[in-house]
Assembly symmetry: C2
Homo-oligomer: 188 residues x 2
Amino acid sequence: MTAAKRADARRNQATLLDAAAAVFVESGVDAPVREIATRAGVGMGTIYRHFPTRADLVVAVYRHQVDACTEAGRSLLAGPTDPYAALGQWIDLFVDFLVTKHGLADLMRSDNAGFETLHTYFLDRLVPVCTDLLAAAAAAGAIRADVAAYELLRGVGNLCIGAGQDPGYDARRLVALLIAGLRHNPVA
Amino acid sequence: MTAAKRADARRNQATLLDAAAAVFVESGVDAPVREIATRAGVGMGTIYRHFPTRADLVVAVYRHQVDACTEAGRSLLAGPTDPYAALGQWIDLFVDFLVTKHGLADLMRSDNAGFETLHTYFLDRLVPVCTDLLAAAAAAGAIRADVAAYELLRGVGNLCIGAGQDPGYDARRLVALLIAGLRHNPVA
DNA sequence: TGCTAAACGGAACAGCGCTCCGTATCTTTA
DNA sequence: TAAAGATACGGAGCGCTGTTCCGTTTAGCA
């Protein structure tokens, strides 16, 4: 189809993805662009031609994992698991994903123009699944029904910011509290 | 006491504080240092002499409000309010404070060296009050007792990041959920 | 009115994202 | 196989940051 690209270009794109993935692990997703370029053995121009914005690069690197998370959600929904437990398990997966990628959560909340690509990709995949999970749990009477998936995901994403850099801060615990807060309870 | 400073120095310090406060409102707490210096009509050197790090400047600007928040917590504790409600009201105050200062929450979670001043000041004041509020609510049997004030404040701070820039995201709502999650509930 | 220490100002340096265009390489075609 | 045209590459360079450093100015005192 769109395979009309030159061979070296395709090769460089793959090299860049590998290099970026490696650098992201080592130095976080906010590593200098130059570092990635050097690591891949290419020039600055090349990286920007393949990935016009950093968000494009990040999306390309993590696309698979986001898709996997989405599918896991669908499985959970289809499976026999209690809807509230399913929601909890899925959120755990999401948190694990964010927490293990140094600095990804920070990027997610970035309001800088140019990160819309990232928002779009992540949210387009995850919001629908999350919406269904929430609906199922609400239908089962386990949680309140007035919380939007978008808002919840943003909240969870925010709670994951800085996780792992501060021994006194456990994002998973706090996310668990947030999810617990979804339950119907005596508060108005 | 330490009033051994020259008159012009004291004047400049005040001018800088005013300028910084104004710029923070207009452009957020992450406004370029040059902007603040220009606004105050001083050079770069002056600003760095008075406030070696940005955190020092931020602390100086918001010191009063943090103190006010602390005192409000003490009042709430001493007053007749139900402990759980008191906790909720105090958290609301804190959230209001963070949300109205464009970008303050972002700074709070910054792990950059040099922001310890900010962490130290904010947390040194707020953690003790929050600890007491939590303890009171726990003693009244309203909430679980295994959540540290530090962690809760970090969580709330994180939830406030980016608030007000996204119409679909309401930090107050999510914080309320988090607090609701503190209640004893059927979940393990 | 000097004199000195304190304070000032802004040029200068370093690190970053991003662009731009001369050069090199691939691919196609004769 | 060789030449032409299209495509991709590389990295110097620009603009914007934070931060330092030191020659110059000025307040306060004798």
